[in-house]
C-alpha cells in the first residue's frame, strides 16, 4: 500500500516507567507500525503486553519516553490537539461516559466536547441510537444501563465525534456473549462501509479474528508479528496434519517419527492414537503413512488441521518466551 494511504504511523515508540520498587519497566519497546485508511487492525496480546500504553500514547494521554506518532501526517506528540481532531477512543477499565447523564445527553455532550455543533449531529445521533439498539433507553441515565449497554454507549460516544480514526481498547472485555457479538457485528458493518479506520486492542483472539483485516501481535512490549490474518492462518494451516489410527504405535515407529518430524505430538487413548505433525512440504504426509504401514496400522482418518488464531497466537507468544 502506498505511503499516502497511511493514516496512523507509530515509529519506534518506547515507554519506560520508572518506579522505586520495580526500577525500570519497559512497557513498550521500540514499537513501529502503520495503519492504512479504512483498515481494521487488531492489537493482540496478553494482559500487560503494552497494548493500552501504546493506545494512550497515540491519544496523548501518556507521554512516551521516545518515538513518534503520526496521525494523518500530523506529529501527534508535537501537535496533540490537531491530532485529536482525527482520533476518538474508548479506553479500557473506564466508564468513558457520564453515569448521571442519559444516553442522549451523553451523545450530545461528547459531540459538543469535540466542537461539533449540535444541529449538525442530531441526525447522526439518532442513527447511532438505532444502530446500537438503544432506542428504548434514550432517556435512561447511563448508570441504570446494563454493562453491555454502557459499553455500547461508550463506543457510540466515540463514534459521534465523527473522527477518521477510532481506537478501541478491549472493547468487548467483560461483556456478555450476546452483547459482545452485537458489538462485533456493529464494528464489522462500520468497517465494511469503509468510513473509519479502526485500531482495536484485545486479548481475545476471536474478537480480532472476527473484525480485523490485519493483526499486530505484541508481547512484553514488543511487536512479535504484523501480518494479515489470512496469511497467518495459511502459514500454519499448510503445515499441520492430523492422523488417527486404531491401536498403538510400536516404540520403533515412534522413534522413527520423532527422528523425522521436529514438531510432533502423539496422543494415546485406550484404543486409538492421534499423531499431529507439522511439515512445510505437504508431500511428507506419505512419510508418515510409510511409517504407519510397517505394522499394518489401520488408518481411521487423515486431515489437515485448521488452527484458529488463538493457537497461532499461543505458539508465537510461547516461542517468544523461549528466546
Amino acid at each position: 500500500m502506498s505511503e499516502a494511504e497511511t493514516v496512523l504511523r507509530v515509529e519506534e515508540l518506547t515507554k519506560i516507567y520508572r518506579s522505586r520498587r520495580q526500577g525500570e519497566v519497559k512497557a513498550v519497546d521500540r514499537v513501529s507500525f502503520s495503519v492504512h485508511r479504512n483498515e481494521v487492525v487488531g492489537l493482540l496480546g496478553p494482559n500487560g503486553a503494552g497494548k493500552t500504553t501504546t493506545i494512550k500514547c497515540i491519544c496523548g494521554l501518556i507521554r512516551p519516553t521516545s518515538g513518534r506518532v503520526w496521525v494523518d501526517g500530523v506529529d501527534a506528540l508535537r501537535h496533540p490537539r490537531r491530532a485529536l481532531e482525527k482520533i476518538a477512543a474508548v479506553l479500557e477499565g473506564n466508564r468513558n461516559v457520564y453515569w448521571r447523564l442519559t444516553v442522549r445527553d451523553n451523545l450530545e455532550f461528547f459531540a459538543g466536547l469535540q466542537g461539533l455543533p449540535l444541529r449538525n449531529v442530531k441526525g447522526y445521533i439518532d442513527e447511532l441510537i438505532e444502530t446500537f439498539n438503544l432506542q428504548e433507553k434514550v432517556n435512561t441515565q447511563a448508570r441504570a444501563l446494563s454493562r453491555g449497554m454502557q459499553q455500547k454507549l461508550a463506543v457510540a460516544c466515540a463514534l459521534v465525534k465523527q473522527t477518521e480514526i477510532l481506537l478501541l481498547d478491549e472493547p468487548t472485555l467483560g461483556l456478555d456473549v450476546e452483547t459482545s457479538y452485537e458489538l462485533r457485528r456493529i464494528l464489522r458493518d462500520l468497517a465494511q462501509r469503509g468510513e473509519r479506520t479502526i485500531l482495536l486492542s484485545s486479548h481475545d483472539m476471536s474478537v480480532v479474528q472476527d473484525i480485523c483485516d490485519r493483526v499486530i501481535i505484541i508481547n512484553h512490549g514488543r511487536i512479535v508479528v504484523d501480518d494479515r490474518i489470512e496469511n497467518l492462518k495459511r502459514l500454519f494451516q499448510a503445515s499441520a496434519y492430523r492422523f488417527e489410527i486404531e491401536g498403538h504405535l510400536s516404540p520403533k515407529q515412534q522413534r522413527r517419527l520423532q527422528e523425522r518430524f521436529e514438531l510432533l505430538k502423539i496422543t494415546n487413548t485406550e484404543e486409538r492414537t492421534v499423531i499431529e505433525a507439522e511439515m512445510l512440504d505437504p508431500s511428507r504426509v506419505y512419510e508418515v503413512i510409510d511409517v504407519l504401514r510397517q505394522n499394518g496400522a489401520r488408518l481411521e482418518s487423515v486431515g489437515r488441521q485448521y488452527p484458529d488464531l488463538e493457537e497461532i497466537f499461543l505458539r508465537i507468544v510461547r516461542g517468544e518466551a523461549r528466546k
Binding site: 515507554k15 516507567y17 512497557a27 500504553t53 494512550k56 491519544c59 496523548g60 494521554l61 501518556i62 507521554r63 490537539r81 490537531r82 485529536l84 481532531e85 482520533i87 476518538a88 477512543a89 479506553l91 477499565g93 473506564n94 466508564r95 468513558n96 461516559v97 457520564y98 453515569w99 448521571r100 447523564l101 445527553d105 450530545e108 455532550f109 461528547f110 459531540a111 459538543g112 466536547l113 469535540q114 466542537g115 461539533l116 455543533p117 449540535l118 441515565q141 460516544c157
Partner: protein, 258 residues
Amino acid sequence: MRHAIVLKALVKRNFLMVVRYPFNLIAGLISLFLIFLVIFYGAQAVGGGNPAFGATLSGIVMGFMLWSFIVFAYSDLTWDFINEAQQGTLEQLYMSPLGFGWVSISHILGWLLINLITTFGMLFAMMGITGRWLNVDFLSVLPLMLLTVWGVYGFGFLMGGLALVFKQVQAAFQILQFVWLGLIAAPLDPFPLLKYAPVSWGTHLIGRVMIGGQSIFEMPASDVLFLAANSAVYFGLGYLGFKYFERMARDRGLLGHY
C-alpha cells in the same frame, strides 16, 4: 465558534448534573445555612447589647455569603478532578481537540453560573431571616466577587493537579476550606500584610460595598487593580503548578488510574 460549542456542552452538562441530583447541592446549602444561623444568633446573643456590634452582624452575613461562594467554587473544581479521574471520564475530557485548558475553563464557568444563582439565593434568604439588609449593588459586587474567586481557582487547579499524582489529597483539600474562612473573617486593619494573601483584599473591598455602601466606581482604581493583580498571581501560580503535576501524571501514565 468551536470554543463556544465546548463551553455550551459543559455548561449544559453541569446544569443537567444538578437537575438530576439536586440533593447534594441542596444538602450542602442547608447545612451551610444552619451553621450560619447558629453563628449569627450566637453572636447576637453574646454581643447584642452593644450598638457597635451591628456592623459585625452584617459582616457575618456577608462573610458567610462569600465563604459559601468560594468553597463551592473551589470544591467544584477539585472534586470534579478527583471524581472524573476516578470514573474515567477525565481522559475523555483530555481528548477534546480544543484542549483541556479550555475544557476546564468551560467547566469552571458552568459551575460559576450555578454557584452565583445559589449564592445570591442564599444571601437573600439570610438577609430575609435576620433582617440585616446589605447593600446588594450587583454592578459593584459581582465584578469584585469574580475577581476574588479568580485567585481561588488557582488553588483549585493546584489541588486538582496534586490529586492526579498523589491521589490522597482530601485532607489538605478540606483544610483549605477553613483557611478560606479564616481569610474572610480576619480583619485587615490589625494585619495589613493579609492584603497579599488570597481572598482577604477582595473581602475587604466587597465589605466596603455591601456594608459601607460604597460603589466600585467610587473606589480608587488602584484598589481594584490590586485585587486583580493579587488574583492573577495566585491563579497563575496555581495553574503552573497544575501543569507541572499534569505533566508528571502523563509521564507516569496516571491520568486514568486512581
